[in-house]
């Protein structure tokens, strides 16, 4: 049993647990951060009076006041840049961008400032900033509101990219992220917000350096993260019914990637499928696949397969959207292909 299995087992047997939605777990992380460190403040569109566009920050304005739960105008570029400046000047801002779709208006600040100032200043100025945003499709919001661009951001040196899929991760990763001296982006898959789960009442910061094996098996490695984790686990159940045991890896962090956990699994299974809600071309799945090629080519018994979103702007109509997204059946089929069964 490796350490990640231990962590899961501990969670399952923890004595005092509570049931929370993913949204409430994220809120618990925010509340804790605000309570623990005077330098922390939350800023973004509708985080205060509206309660957060996904109701994640609901109630925090009343608890911490408008200075620390700060509504901003619709100026993504300006308030992300203000977060960088405040971080440079001793604060620990948490900037919320409603969704990754709108983060594109702040891309310049994220890429040209947050990710580069440390290097450009010869190590003099670090940017301890956390940027949270919702990501993902599946809610019939069409092409401009359904992006999964976390893999894109993982392209950028200078950033750390987190993709919590579990309630404990979304609650605990913020703490760890705020302790990081450099900019951290946290992507919360919006489809998960209403999902309930049991979590231990007692908690502490969670490790953000390692992927976790969420289910063990020796026949095929299924590599995923974020919203696709649940579809992948479901696929693993179906495969088990056919006598195929899948190792399911939750990457948790897309930059830096935890190669070791991936490689260790492939050394056992000799087969891999990567499941990513992002697009295939140039995506994080390509990066993972290539790393496997570079490092574990001779371990493989079959070509690596990928299950990604179709190469299309996300359509509105439900049947088209579902056809565009990774689905359980597609994951099962890909796994069976690499096994040759």
């Amino acid at each position: 049993m490796n350490s990640t299995h231990v962590a899961l087992a501990e969670a399952a047997t923890a004595q005092t647990t509570t049931r929370l939605t993913f949204r409430e777990a994220a809120r618990a992380g925010l509340r804790d951060a605000l309570a623990r460190d005077e330098r922390v403040f939350l800023m973004g569109e509708d985080v205060g009076h509206y309660g957060g566009c996904f109701a994640v920050s609901l109630g925090l304005l009343a608890e911490f006041g408008p200075e620390r739960v700060r509504d901003t105008p619709l100026s993504e570029s300006a308030f992300v840049g203000a977060g960088i400046g405040a971080a440079l000047a001793g604060m620990r801002p948490i900037v919320e961008i409603m969704t990754v779709n709108f983060s594109l208006l702040a891309l310049d600040q994220i890429l040209n400032n947050a990710a580069t100032i440390l290097h450009m200043s010869g190590g003099q100025f670090n940017v301890p900033l956390v940027i949270r945003m919702a990501t993902g499709g599946g809610r019939q919001l069409a092409a401009q509101h359904s992006h999964s661009l976390e893999g894109w951001y993982a392209h950028i040196p200078g950033l750390r990219v987190l993709t919590p899929a579990t309630h404990e991760d979304v609650r605990g990763m913020l703490w760890t992220a705020l302790e990081d001296p450099d900019p951290v982006l946290i992507f919360e898959n919006a489809a998960l917000y209403p999902v309930e789960a049991s979590v231990p009442v007692e908690w502490s910061p969670v490790d953000i350096d390692h992927a976790v094996v969420r289910r063990s098996g020796s026949d095929v490695t299924l590599i995923t993260y974020g919203g696709s984790l649940y579809k992948t686990l479901q696929a693993a159940d179906e495969l088990a019914a056919h006598g195929i045991q899948a190792d399911v890896i939750d990457l948790r962090t897309l930059r830096p990637l935890d190669d070791a956990t991936i490689f260790e699994s492939i050394a056992r299974t000799h087969r891999a499928v990567i499941i990513d809600e992002g697009w295939r071309s140039g995506g994080i799945s390509a990066e993972i696949g290539m790393r496997i090629m570079e490092n574990r080519f001779y371990d493989l018994d079959a070509p690596v397969e990928r299950v990604c979103s179709a190469e299309v702007p996300m359509p509105y109509a439900a049947h088209l959207e579902q056809a565009a997204l990774p689905q359980v059946a597609g994951i099962v089929a890909a796994a069976r292909r690499v096994i040759g069964g």
């Binding site: 509708d46 901003t72 100026s75 069409a142 092409a143 109509a317 088209l320």
Partner: protein, 337 residues
């Protein structure tokens, strides 16, 4: 009939009055239908209603020529209908059907119609403004006498795009009407909580863009101010900003708990319902009868019921067409490569 407004008298004849009222009633009924369908889970996604703001679409858009252009936001049902995109095509789009004006790819927030020169609802706040600068620039370069109207909200004024585009349009003297629908809120953020200078006429002055503020609940006031603005632009004088002071009666999108505003405030604005107040004025002036108004209401209800039937009967796009129109002249097989 001549109705005395605060600024000036506006003349409206019977046919014109009926047309304005009828347009507002169509938009209202379309959106009430959308709300019902949404509750019944037959329409999905984000659905932003303009109920309360109909006088803007009805007053402004009919003044445009067929060659003029419109760039809109996600709150665009009224703009699309007033522009002449059929209720059938709009409703089928709400259903995600193949006969929808965006073939089911857009939904409520992205109604498009090339023939009507309707460049879509844009769901990124401020995202349509640069597009509108581009269409206006193209018209200017091609010596076309067209006007582009760009609709956006009070919230969008805080976006950099507003400021960048005001500057560019003024600098290049582009035929662009900035139509700001100021409904006092950007989702839950009241104007004065987000903007230090809440007077957009002052902002416009900063960019040398002539501007006017008008009661957006009064369809005649909208029409007369819009006519002045369009005449000014078409005469080659460059851009113009029209602030249309209005209010949305419903939630920001289909549902929100409205923690950010007083019920009383909403009720007060409802007293100024653009449809009821206009109907009352017409009745008082003896220009139309109750029966005629009722007829318009019924016509709108019939039209929207037919649109729902049309949308329901419309087929779904075959899934094989999923990747079409990623590039204009490639087959689905080529798109996948």
């Amino acid at each position: 009939m001549t109705i005395q407004l605060s600024h000036e008298p506006v003349t409206v004849d019977r046919d014109h009055a009926l047309q304005l009222l009828g347009e507002m009633l169509r938009i209202r009924r379309f959106e009430e239908t959308c709300a019902e369908l949404y509750m019944a889970a037959r329409v999905r996604g984000f659905v932003h209603l303009c109920i309360g703001q109909e006088a803007i679409s009805a007053g402004l858009i009919p003044l445009l020529t067929p060659e003029d252009r419109i760039v809109s936001t996600y709150r665009e049902h009224g703009h699309a209908l007033a522009r002449g995109i059929s209720a059938n095509a709009c409703m089928a789009e709400m259903f995600g059907k193949v006969d929808g004006c965006s073939r089911g790819r857009g939904g409520s927030m992205h109604l498009f119609d090339a023939q009507k020169r309707f460049y879509g609802g844009n769901a990124i706040v401020g995202g349509g403004l640069p597009l509108a600068v581009g269409t206006a620039l193209a018209d200017k370069l091609q010596h076309e006498p067209n006007v582009t109207v760009c609709f956006f909200g009070d919230g969008a004024v805080a976006e950099g795009e507003f400021h960048e585009c005001m500057n560019l349009a003024a600098l290049w003297r582009l035929p662009l009407l900035f139509a700001c629908e100021n409904n006092l809120y950007a989702m839950g953020t009241a104007l004065e909580r987000a903007q230090a200078q809440t007077d957009r006429l002052v902002k416009a002055a900063g960019y040398h863009v002539p501007a006017e503020s008008v009661d957006g609940m009064d369809v005649l006031a909208v029409a007369s101010a819009a006519q002045r603005a369009i005449d000014f632009i078409r005469a080659g004088n460059g851009p113009y900003l029209l602030e249309l002071r209005t209010y949305r009666f419903r939630a920001h999108s289909m549902y929100d708990p409205e923690l950010y505003r007083d019920k009383q405030e909403v009720e007060q604005w409802k007293q100024r319902d653009p449809i009821d107040t206009f109907a009352a004025r017409l009745l008082q002036a003896g220009l139309v009868t109750d029966a005629e108004i009722e007829q318009l209401r019924q016509a709108a209800a019939d039209e929207m019921a037919a649109a729902v039937a049309f949308a329901e009967a419309s087929p779904l796009e075959p899934v094989e067409q999923l990747t079409r129109w990623v590039y204009s002249d490639a087959t689905p097989e080529e798109q996948e490569r």
